[in-house]
């Protein structure tokens, strides 16, 4: 595997562990559809959550919550809708971002941003 793919997988593992630690039920990993992929699908109590995981090493200027652009967001929404349909989920669902940053001193920072569609129309 290429380095950045290895880093990505490492980050997703870390995110999954964090979610399980806080009591979420993990329903799936790396679920691919035509035109989109869901890194993690999980249950937060009554809500289904599609989690996008971003892993980066230090030196990036952009804050992590800005790293998902509108195009990527639309793709995530499309993939999420497809998943919900396929699994006959009729309850509420949302899209979260988990950003993992490896800092200069090898510290690992994990940040969790819920609802990255901000209640907008998609």
């Amino acid at each position: 595997m290429a380095d950045h793919l290895l880093l990505g997988k490492w980050g997703e593992d870390l995110a999954e562990k964090k979610l399980m630690d806080q009591g979420w039920k993990i329903l799936g990993r790396n679920i691919s559809f035509k035109g989109g992929e869901l890194d993690i699908v999980a249950r937060d109590e009554k809500e289904l959550v599609m989690v996008e995981v971003r892993t980066r090493t230090f030196g990036k200027i952009m804050p992590p919550e800005c790293s998902v652009g509108p195009d990527k967001l639309r793709k995530l929404v499309r993939a999420g809708k497809y998943y919900v349909l396929k699994n006959k989920w009729e309850g509420p669902w949302r899209i979260d971002l988990i950003a993992i940053t490896v800092e200069e001193n090898e510290n690992v920072r994990i940040e969790h941003f819920p609802d990255i569609t901000y209640g907008g129309a998609y």
Partner: protein, 500 residues
Amino acid sequence: MNAVLGVTLKGVDAIKVEVEVEITGGLFAISIVGLPDAAVRESKERVRAALRTLGIPIRGRVAVNLAPADLPKEGALLDLPIAVGMAKSTGALRFSRPSVFMGELALDGRLRAVRGAVPAAIMAREKGLDLFIPEDNAHEVSLVHGVNAFKVPDLRSLIDYFRGDLELQRVKNDFKADQQKKIEPDFSDIKGQAAAKRALEIAAAGHHNVLLIGSPGSGKTLLARALRGILPPLSDEELMEVMLVRSTVGISSSRGRERPFRPIHHTASAVAICGGGTNLRPGEISMAHRGVLFLDEFTEFRRDLLESLRQPLEDGEIVVSRSAGSVTYPAQVLLAVACNPCPCGWFGDPVEQCRCSSNDIERYQKKLSGPILDRIDLYVPVPRLTPEELLSLEGKCGESSEAIRERVCRARSLQLERWSDIGSGSNSELPEKILRTRLGLSREARSFLGSVAGTLKLSGRGISRVLKVSRTIADLDSSVEISTAHISEALAYRQTGFLS
């Protein structure tokens, strides 16, 4: 059905808005039908953030419907009812009485004061609804008789209240107006100008519009500012009218009985003066309702601006039109206007030399006619004092505003009593028919006016004006009859008399 209600404003009236919230499964999204887009975005963020801090998560597809849909609405006023509607749909709270909510949410859930609390209180009282308002709006709402209103510091307190965990403070009715503040400047602060002061006393007593004409530094502006200090204090009803306008504009204010004084500058926009704008608000003319509207440097005002003041001055209210229909704001004002006697300003001055040609002066005088000036009853020269006069007045103190106000109030109550059957509060508003028949003109006064009317070439309108003003002078004199002396004093305030 215990609807969640909010309000929107139409003129100085609050209109009930029903807030319906439906939450279904699906991707988290909030849509608000019935608000302009920009307002929706802001309101949505405030409401969601505020609910989240309370641990009330909003999930799924949230559809907020604001009915009636065709009324223009303002997001900030509706934050609280939208938040309550959402919380209610998630089952986080329930309530048993139909209630009206108003308030803008801060992101942390605190409530900010909004405009329109007084109109909302009147609406809630009429419809028998409970009213929940931001704490900072309580002072103005306490003036509204018989409304069942609660002070809400923040969203959490409101939710706890509906869960039965907390009591909210009721707004206590308090109809006592604030202590009347001393109005600056006082008439005793103004040196000399006995004639102009007398004219303002007449203006205040009969509600006559007045034009002050004088050179720069003569004290016209000072006199105009002092005028409201000799007007009778606002009655309960008038105070409520003034509070309604202030609340609609959104300025929290004292509830004193002193009348408003609103100066407008000739560079002001039509919207600032007449009202309107994106979030429809009353203008200066409505802020001056039941008080004094002052136009300084009158000849500098654009024609179209003056034209737009004509109708409201005649009707006592102003209609503001916009795409979504028109609204009406009150605009009963005593008009005070000031200007220079000539373009350079020094015509008739005891010291400075006027540099204007007779043509200049004639053209200038022509400007002193038209839509606003024909509503002026009193033309008052305000000459600059000579250095000698100033010296001789050193240390002398004129009559106080309070003493003058007492005479004005007496004259007003005579008018109120006399005209109670025709619903007029002052001599200046008298219909023509009444003028001719019920003025109490003495026989000598009648023949005197008849003879001077010819010599002075008084028009029909000019005669009416002289009659109204002389009635006020007689009232200040506590005289049932209008005498020849009253008529001749009134004649001195005619338009043609002011430059000689």
